[in-house]
């Protein structure tokens, strides 16, 4: 990046926006490394958090719930969207529209609806969450995959795969998925991120996951809870920024 004269507005923008982002985050980080009553700084709150039995329990639980959400999203959306693109079905308009509907409904209202609608055997299983997360992530996941499929010669690819004797399942898994891998990666990333951080639906349906557990910790050990929040916030933040920073330009152009 050249720091020429022209870029002064950009630098000012980045400084202001950087301060806006970093000051609250940095202040919370400073709290999280305080050593309580003794004063001074240390990592003891982080060590405390990681040693908590519930820490790994809820982290693992949230991780697999999010993994299941990603799986549901891909298994349902990739074949459906492939079919929509290939068939030019009249259902296309309908399904496009439906996929955006969850944006219209506030999560709180959706949670009330879920609570009064599902039969007992669904409400008593934590497996209802991945399906509800799937709905919450649908507008974004659908759009990401839709853009990916629009950009490739889908008809040629699937016809070639079919002529070579592949079943539809095989054609999707072996030929189509690898070609739209950047759209699939984006879909996985945003669905996973949304599910692992989801709070409102989870807490209103009385489930406990990593994000809701932090609320309880805060009542006993505030600094520990701040440390946990920092882990929950900074780890994805740093990971996602690093991935974006380190991905070579070339690969992006190719996969687009």
């Amino acid at each position: 990046m050249k720091l020429g004269k022209l870029n002064l507005p950009l630098i000012i923008t980045l400084l202001l926006f950087g301060a806006f982002v970093v000051i609250p985050m940095g202040s919370a980080f400073e709290y999280s490394i305080r050593r309580g009553l003794e004063g001074g700084y240390g990592l003891q709150n982080y060590l405390w958090a990681v040693r908590e039995e519930d820490f790994s329990y809820y982290l693992i639980r949230s991780t697999w719930l999010s993994a299941v959400t990603v799986l549901i999203t891909l298994v349902i959306l990739v074949p459906t969207l492939t079919w929509i693109h290939l068939s030019n079905s009249k259902l296309r308009e309908l399904i496009d529209g439906l996929s955006l509907l969850p944006l219209v409904i506030p999560v709180v209202a959706f949670a009330v609806g879920a609570q009064i609608s599902f039969p007992e055997f669904i409400q008593s299983s934590v497996m209802e969450l991945p399906f509800l997360y799937f709905i919450l992530a649908l507008p974004y996941a659908y759009r990401a995959l839709d853009i990916g499929l629009k950009a490739i010669p889908l008809k040629t690819l699937s016809e070639a795969a079919r002529s070579a004797g592949a079943s539809w399942l095989r054609a999707i898994v072996i030929v189509i998925l690898p070609v739209i891998r950047s759209a699939v990666t984006a879909t996985i990333a945003l669905t996973f991120a949304l599910s692992i951080g989801e709070f409102t639906m989870t807490v209103l349906l009385h489930w406990d996951t990593f994000p809701t557990w932090v609320t309880y910790v805060a009542q006993d050990n505030l600094l520990g809870a701040i440390a946990i929040s920092m882990i929950a916030l900074l780890v994805p933040f740093v990971l996602i920024s690093l991935v974006a920073l380190l991905t070579p330009e070339k690969e992006i152009k190719e996969s687009n």
């Binding site: 990046m1 022209l6 507005p9 950009l10 923008t13 980045l14 202001l16 926006f17 982002v21 202040s27 919370a28 709290y31 549901i72 349902i76 459906t80 079919w83 068939s87 079905s89 259902l91 399904i95 439906l98 969850p102 944006l103 219209v104 409904i105 506030p106 999560v107 709180v108 959706f110 949670a111 009330v112 609806g113 009064i116 609608s117 399906f131 799937f134 709905i135 079919r162 004797g165 079943s167 539809w168 399942l169 095989r170 709070f199 409102t200 807490v203 209103l204 994000p211 932090v214 609320t215 805060a218 701040i226 929040s229 920092m230 916030l233 933040f237 996602i240 974006a244 991905t247 992006i252």
Partner: protein, 293 residues
Amino acid sequence: MEKRGVRKGASFPISPSSILPALPFLLIFGFFFLFPISRLIYVSFMSNENTFTLGNFQTAFEKPYNSGFVNSIKLGLLSAAITAIPGAVAAYFIETRGSSRLKRTISSMNGVLANTGGVPLAFMFTSALGIQGFLTQALKAVGIDLYANSFSLGTFTGLLIVYLYFQLPLMIIVFSPAISSLRREWVEAATNLGANNLQYWLRIGIPLLLPSFLASFLLLFASGFSAYATANALTVGNVPLTPLQIGGLLDGNVSAAQLNLGKALGVVMIVISACAVIPYLLIQRRVARWQTR
């Protein structure tokens, strides 16, 4: 999986009249989304004795629930109004002057920031703007005492400040595509026809960007209006907001004479949210015609 003959296989699943391939999606979407929302609407018209009534809605527009709507709408509008222009300007400079790597990094960071909320966000602002907070102390050192006028993060003003933290990144995310599709040729064409910078912006730039700007504003409103987690973490029932009132009724922390009052509040929220999100979606669809490059 059984291998089918090429012709037979190729014609079966892509036949436009067949809805079979869309069935799994439609079933799951119908059961986990359309069904609960329809039931919510239906039950909101039910009295305690399961007869039809408008009473739930009547109560929903009376005290203290009416002030919940007023506050939630105000919070949505104000948080959107404060962040819309700075976000649009930031998006403009980042999109037009940043390298593609910078753009990508900022856009992924914004994705994370726009989804921050709840307890982590509450902690960040307590650490920065609480009584002992870093920023509070720094401001005090230069002579500004935030807490002189009974300021607290758990008030309407406090929530408004905290909401800016996810609204500004959201504005940058939703407005950036509009900026990046402004073409350089348009500036050149305008200049060739003798327009100056101001004329370009007044006649071309702003009119082109205005629909996207309004659409972004509407989406920000909906996001601030329906946010639950952060307000739940920062307030203790002192700021009446509809999402919190619904949460309280759902948890049974608050009891109401009408069992289905919470459902009516939810339906009114959906109507208000739809008034913002549906125009947003329609505008986005229209501008997509010239935005696709």
